[in-house]
């Protein structure tokens, strides 16, 4: 059973976002990593890039699919998870902690409120499964 931590916000496209001080951390959900299967590569954005909400900013690739990762919030990329370069399996092993993708300094962190709650996102996943 996939985990849906309640302290996080989600997109219907399976990204999670977490406000950490004044930085937003972004990754993909437990449900998404499970659906993708073994992640073999993550293409990350450039540090310093400015992104709009909904922009395609990264690509996660498993043995069976390559999927776009969308920015959940507008802002500028301040860090990317370089550990994923050599250890993409962290996305499978620890989707909410060590498997994070990138960090954004949001233009307006209040925009996070518009994202899905854990319960709402779980409902999206349940719908997909049925």
């Amino acid at each position: 059973m996939a985990e849906f931590p309640t302290e996080l916000k989600y997109l219907a496209t399976h990204e999670w976002a977490k406000l950490d001080g004044d930085i937003v951390v972004v990754g993909i959900s437990d449900h998404a990593q499970d659906a993708l299967g073994d992640v073999v590569y993550v293409e990350l954005p450039e540090v310093g890039a400015s992104v709009a909400a909904g922009d395609e900013v990264a690509v996660v690739e498993s043995v069976k699919a390559a999927s776009d990762i969308y920015a959940p919030i507008a802002g500028s990329v301040v860090a990317v998870n370089e550990a994923l370069e050599d250890s993409p399996e962290l996305v499978n092993e620890s989707p909410y902690e060590e498997g994070w993708f990138f960090k954004i300094t949001p233009a307006d962190s209040a925009a996070l409120d518009g994202l899905l709650s854990a319960a709402a996102y779980q409902a999206v996943c349940d719908d997909e499964d049925h």
Binding site: V40, E43, V63, K64, A66
Partner: protein, 453 residues
């Protein structure tokens, strides 16, 4: 269930269910100016017997000609074993199999091909091939635009001494994808792109060829380093035979070319009126995720037995659709088989020997040609197995005269560049003996006499 997939009745039902009257209506959205229309110049079909008769008559019109025509496709000796083996039923597929992992033999063959191509080019990886040399260059340009994260522009510099038909194919393929191809003029003295005049700032990539369209060997080391200093990627378009003798792109300049492509036809594939051929494509490891096409990898199974698998296919169009690394990509399976067998039979020494004989043959031919007072060499600098000679008459007229002797004397450069219509591009491969070259030179001398008066 009938063998014929759909009857007129089936068609009618299908059209009715989507609310369309005729099949023709399905093409309504295509502007009429782009439609081919009726093929009213095409004759009625022939019976098998009539067709055999016609083709036999046509074949009788062919004369065995001594050809010095290169310009992108080259007549090399193909050991008889190559096509005898390629024609075996086990290899007779034009494509990588859809149940890939169940076809270990085919996968291993492609893996060996990739290994040989990477070694020949001194590059990290090769893919399983693309259509041909020209489309490989277009794919390399698209790949460079995706891979170069440092330069945000979509401007690609293309050396003007690259095969004009390759440049045309690139315009066709990338022209509508928001990519700006800037063709840099070649130096009229050398036929090469002059490194001293290269400004690669804000360019995603520089495309250079080695040898170039004129057979010349330009300063790819300097061009590579200049492009890299400006953060542009370097795409090399090379002749594979030449790479057995010359400096392979993996060692150009300080760090080597980033992407290497070319036409694989010289590796055991007959001229066959222009195709099918195969495009090869290699790159450095760090940008392999942006390489189109498929790559076969070697791995081990649960029992630790060696096996081969398709890798990187998650970026292909059957999975990524419109976001795939390429949407016109294929693998020339049968021709890859021929190239692999050719390379295996020739080996390092054999291929190098072919390259040396080509180069020496050209030197012999040039010495004979330049001994004629009316003939001069068009460009200065070294050449591999092809060079341009300048004539007092139009090359087209001279070629017509030589054809009377059963000789295809070379390629009329006026076909692609009006200012070079007195120039003949001549190629020599290992298939030409000293006697053949003498026959060519005598025919050239006689044709010059005839056309000058």
């Amino acid at each position: 269930m009938p063998f014929i997939p759909h009857t007129l009745e089936d068609e009618r039902k299908m059209l009715a269910s989507i609310g369309v009257d005729t099949i023709e209506d399905l093409f309504d959205e295509i502007p009429s100016a782009l439609r081919a229309g009726e093929l009213n110049q095409t004759p009625e079909g022939l019976s098998e017997m009539q067709l055999m008769r016609l083709m036999t008559e046509r074949a009788a019109l062919d004369r065995v000609q001594l050809s010095f025509l290169g310009a992108g496709a080259y007549e090399h000796h193909i050991p008889a074993a190559v096509w005898d083996l390629v024609s075996r039923g086990e290899f007779m597929t034009a494509y990588t199999p859809y149940q890939a992992e169940a076809s270990q033999g085919t996968l291993q063959l492609i893996y060996e091909y990739q290994t040989m191509m990477s070694r020949l080019m001194q590059m990290d990886v090769a893919n399983a091939s693309v259509y041909d040399g020209a489309s490989a260059m277009a794919e390399a340009i698209l790949m460079a635009v995706r891979a170069n994260k440092k330069v945000k522009s979509r401007r690609v510099l293309v050396a003007g001494d690259i095969h004009p038909r390759y440049i045309k194919a690139c315009h066709t393929i990338v022209g509508n994808q928001g990519i700006e191809l800037e063709i840099l003029p070649f130096d009229p003295e050398t036929g090469c792109l002059d490194p001293a005049r290269l400004a690669a700032d804000e360019a995603v990539a520089l495309v250079v060829s080695y040898p170039n369209f004129f057979g010349g060997l330009c300063d790819v080391n300097a061009l590579t380093d200049l492009a890299h200093a400006a953060a542009a990627l370097v795409i090399g378009v090379v002749n594979p035979t030449a790479m057995a003798l010359l400096q392979p792109p993996g060692s150009w300049g300080e760090t080597g070319a980033d992407i290497v492509v070319g036409e694989g036809q010289p590796l055991g594939i007959p001229l066959a009126s222009g195709g099918p051929y195969l495009g090869f494509m290699c790159c450095r490891q760090s940008i392999v995720r942006q390489m189109p096409g498929r790559i076969i990898g070697r791995t081990s199974d649960l029992d630790d037995k060696e096996g081969f698998a398709l890798t990187l296919q998650a970026r292909e169009q059957h999975i990524r659709r419109g976001k795939a690394t390429s949407n016109i990509c294929t693998n020339q399976g049968l021709l890859v088989t021929a190239a692999s067998i050719y390379l295996s039979l020739m080996g390092d020494k054999g291929l190098r020997s072919v390259a040396v004989q080509c180069h020496e043959g050209l030197q012999t031919l040039l010495a004979k040609a330049l001994a004629l007072p009316q003939v001069s060499q068009r460009f200065t600098g070294p050449a591999f197995h092809e060079a341009v000679i300048e004539l007092p008459v139009k090359a087209a007229d001279l070629l017509s005269a030589m054809l009377q002797d059963g000789i295809i004397g070379g390629y009329d450069l006026g076909e692609v560049n009006v200012s070079l219509d007195h120039c003949l591009l001549v190629n020599v491969t290992e298939t030409k003996t000293v006697e053949d070259i003498e026959v060519w030179a005598r025919s050239l001398a006689a044709a010059l006499e005839d056309t000058s008066c």
